[in-house]
Subunit: 395 residues, 2 copies
C-alpha cells in the first residue's frame, strides 16, 4: 500500500501550480502529496505593491490555500521549514515532526538581496509578503499622521531603492495614494517627496526604451524624482546616504533592489548562485534525481546563457510543467524538458496607467492597465477557476 510521497515546500506560484497539476492528474491512491507553507494563505506577489502603498486591502492579495486545493488529494501542513536534509530525504519543520519524501519540490521563494549595503536590513522596509506590506502601509500612515505636529519634511519623504519592476509599480501606487493620504492627514501634497534611487543607469532595465521613457515621464509628471546611476551606500534610521556622500532624509525607505534565493536552499548543500539553484532541463537540482527547484529559488538561463529574471510567469510555467512531469514519472512515464515561453510583461503605474509588451506589441496607458488586470485574473483562474475570478478579480 506504499505510494510515492511528494513533498512540496512553499505555496507560491510554482508550488501551487505543481500541486494543482498533481491533484488533477493523479488519483488519490497514486501518491501522497504534502504541501507545506508558512501561512495558511498564498499571496499574490505581483500585487503586493498595492497594499504596500495602501491602494488596496491586503486581503485582495491573498487566497486561503485550503480554498484552492483538493484536500482529499493534498495534505496541507501550515508550518515553517527549518531545514532540508537531502541525505536523509527529510524536511524539518518548526512545530511538526520531520517529514520524509520520495520527491521533493522546493519553491521557497526569495529573500531581499542587499548587496552588502550597510544598515539596509535593519532600517529599510521590504515588499516581501502580506505582513511586510502591511507594515509599510501603517508605517507610512503613522509618519504622515505625525507631520502636522512635528512639521519635519523627512516624515513625508519616501525613498524607494531600486527601479526594477517592484520599485516602479510601488511608486505608481504611491502616486495614486498621495492625494488621499495628504487629505487625510492635512499634509500639503506639494511637500511630499518620492525619490527613486537606482544604481543602474536606467529604470526597468531590459524593458523597451520607449516604454521606459513613457513610464519615467508619467511618474515625473506626478512629482517623482529619479536618481539613476547612483548606488545607495548606507541606509540609516532617518534616511539614506548615496554614493558620493549626498544624504536624503527620509522616514520611509523601501528597498526593492533585488532578490536572492531562500537561505534554506543554500544550507541544504545544493550548489547555488546567490542562493538560487541552476536547475537542469527537468528543473532538478544538480546531482539530485528527486529534488526539484522552481520559482525564485531556481535559475533558468536563456539561449544566450543569461538568467531570466525571477517572475511569477516563470514560476507558474515551471509549476505547470512540474505537476505534469511528476504525475507522469510516478506512472513510469517520461518527463518533458522545461522551456520558458515569455508571453509578455506589463508593469503597472497605478490604477489606470501601465506599460507593457504582449508578443511584439507595445502597450501604454489604459490599454496596458487593462492587460495587467487580465493577467491578474488569469492567475486567479488558474488557481480557483471562474468562481475565484468573480470573488477576487477586479477591473
Amino acid at each position: 500500500m506504499s505510494v510515492p510521497k511528494i513533498v512540496v515546500l512553499g505555496a507560491g506560484y510554482g508550488g501551487l501550480m505543481t500541486v494543482k497539476g498533481l491533484q488533477k492528474k493523479l488519483h488519490y491512491n497514486e501518491a501522497e502529496v504534502i504541501l507545506v507553507n508558512l501561512n495558511p494563505y498564498h499571496y499574490i506577489t505581483t500585487k503586493l505593491h498595492e497594499p504596500a502603498a495602501g491602494t488596496s486591502h491586503p486581503d485582495h492579495a491573498r487566497i486561503m490555500i485550503n480554498s484552492v486545493i483538493n484536500q482529499q488529494k493534498v495534505k496541507f501542513i501550515q508550518d515553517k521549514v527549518t531545514a532540508i536534509k537531502l541525505e536523509d530525504k527529510t524536511v524539518q519543520l518548526e512545530n511538526n515532526k520531520p517529514i520524509s519524501y520520495d520527491y521533493l519540490v522546493i519553491g521557497l521563494g526569495s529573500a531581499p538581496e542587499t548587496f552588502g549595503i550597510k544598515g539596509l536590513l535593519e532600517n529599510a522596509y521590504f515588499i516581501r509578503n502580506i505582513n511586510s506590506v502591511r507594515i509599510i502601509r501603517e508605517h507610512l500612515e503613522y509618519m504622515f499622521a505625525r507631520y502636522q505636529s512635528e512639521q519635519k519634511d523627512e516624515l513625508i519623504t519616501i525613498v524607494v531603492g531600486g527601479a526594477g519592476f517592484t520599485g516602479i509599480e510601488f511608486i505608481g501606487e504611491l502616486v495614486d495614494r498621495m492625494p488621499e493620504l495628504c487629505h487625510e492627514y492635512d499634509v500639503p501634497l506639494e511637500k511630499v517627496r518620492i525619490v527613486n534611487v537606482e544604481a543602474a543607469p536606467t529604470v526597468l532595465p531590459g524593458f523597451d526604451k520607449d516604454l521606459v521613457d513613457y513610464a519615467v515621464k508619467y511618474l515625473e509628471g506626478k512629482g517623482v524624482e529619479f536618481i539613476l546611476s547612483t548606488p545607495i551606500e548606507e541606509c540609516k534610521e532617518d534616511g539614506v546616504i548615496l554614493k558620493g556622500g549626498k544624504e536624503i532624509k527620509a522616514a520611509t525607505v523601501v528597498w526593492t533592489g533585488g532578490v536572492r534565493g531562500n537561505k534554506l536552499v543554500e544550507e541544504s548543500g545544493i550548489e547555488t548562485m546567490r542562493g538560487r539553484v541552476k536547475v537542469d532541463e527537468y528543473l532538478r537540482a544538480p546531482g539530485y534525481e528527486n529534488v526539484f527547484v522552481l520559482g525564485d529559488s531556481s535559475l533558468v538561463f536563456n539561449e544566450e546563457e543569461r538568467p531570466y529574471p525571477p517572475t511569477a510567469q516563470m514560476s507558474t510555467q515551471q509549476g505547470q510543467l512540474l505537476g505534469e512531469n511528476l504525475a507522469s514519472k510516478i506512472r513510469g512515464g517520461e518527463m518533458k524538458p522545461f522551456k520558458y515561453m515569455p508571453k509578455g510583461t506589463v508593469a503597472s503605474l497605478g490604477r489606470r496607467e501601465a506599460i507593457g509588451t504582449v508578443g511584439d506589441k507595445k502597450l501604454v496607458g489604459g490599454k496596458a492597465a487593462f492587460m495587467k488586470k487580465l493577467i491578474d485574473m488569469r492567475w486567479l483562474y488558474l488557481l480557483g477557476g471562474i468562481s475565484l475570478v468573480l470573488k477576487k478579480g477586479k477591473l
Copy 2:
C-alpha cells in the same frame, strides 16, 4: 468711529460660545470681535477618544470655524498665540502682527499634567487634539501590523495611564475596536492586553459607586486589566515602570492622567494654580477688569470650596454667560455672576455602552449611550443649529 475691541483666544467650547453670543447680541458696528485659533477648525474634545482608538474618523470630531461664525461680525485669525502682554493690552502671534484689545477672553485650553513622571512627555501619547489622536490611531495600527512579523507581545499591549473620564472613555472605544483591528492584522484577540493604571484607589473618581462598578465589570468582561492605587513611576520607550518596581512592556502608552492650564497664561503674569486661573464671579482674572478666563484655563470652585473638574459642560456655560455679559457691558449694562449648573454627566464605554447621571437619575447601558449622543448633538446644535446636527450628528 472707534468701537471696543474684543479679542477671544481659542476656539474651544468657551471661546466659541463667547463669540456666538457676541455675534448674536451685538450689531456689527458695536464692537470689533476677533477670534484667534491655532487651527482652522474647532475640535470636539469630548469625542477625541473615538478617533484616537480608530472607531470614528477625526473629521467627525472637528468643525471648520468659518462655517459656524458670522464672518461679518467676527474676524477669525488662524495663528498661534505666542505671548499675552497684559501691560500693553496686546497679544503676540507667530505669523501676524500683535493685536491690541480692550477686552481679552482667554480660552486656550489645557496641557497634559505629568506630575513629574519621568519620560512621560517623551514617550507617552496624549489625547489632546486632532493631530495627537491621529498619531495614536496610526501608531496603534503600525504596532499591530508588526505583530505577525515580530511576535512580540508588547506590540499589542496598550497601557492607559489614568482612569478619569478620558481614560475610561478611550478604553471603551479600544474594546470596541479590538476585534476589527485583530482581524485586520491577524492578531489573536486573546493576546491583546489593555491595562489601565491609576494612582487613585478607584476609576472615575467622583462618579456614583454603582455606576463605577458597572463600568469596571463591563470593561473587565472585555478583558481590560485595572491596576489601581498604583502610580506610574516612569514611562519608557517600551513601557512603564509602576511604583514598587513592576514593569509592563507596552509599545503604546496613552496618558490621560490629568491636565493643567496652558503655560501662556502663567507666563502672562496672571496668578495661577497649576497653570489655571481662579477667576472671580464674572470670570475675570484676579486684578484685571478686562481680562476674562474660561474653560480649562480657569478654575471655578463649588460651595465647599473644591474646584469643579474642567469639562466641556463647564466651558460651554462659561462662554454662554460671557458672551451675554460682554455684550451687556459694552452697552453700559450690568454683568451677571457665573453659577455653574451641572446638568448631569455621561461617560461612554464604546458605541453601545455608557454610564451616567442626569439630575438624580442613574443611567447605564443603551439608555446612557443614547443620552451621550444627545449631549453630543446638543453641542452641535449650539454651534451650528439644526443643519450642523444633521450634517455631523449620529445616533
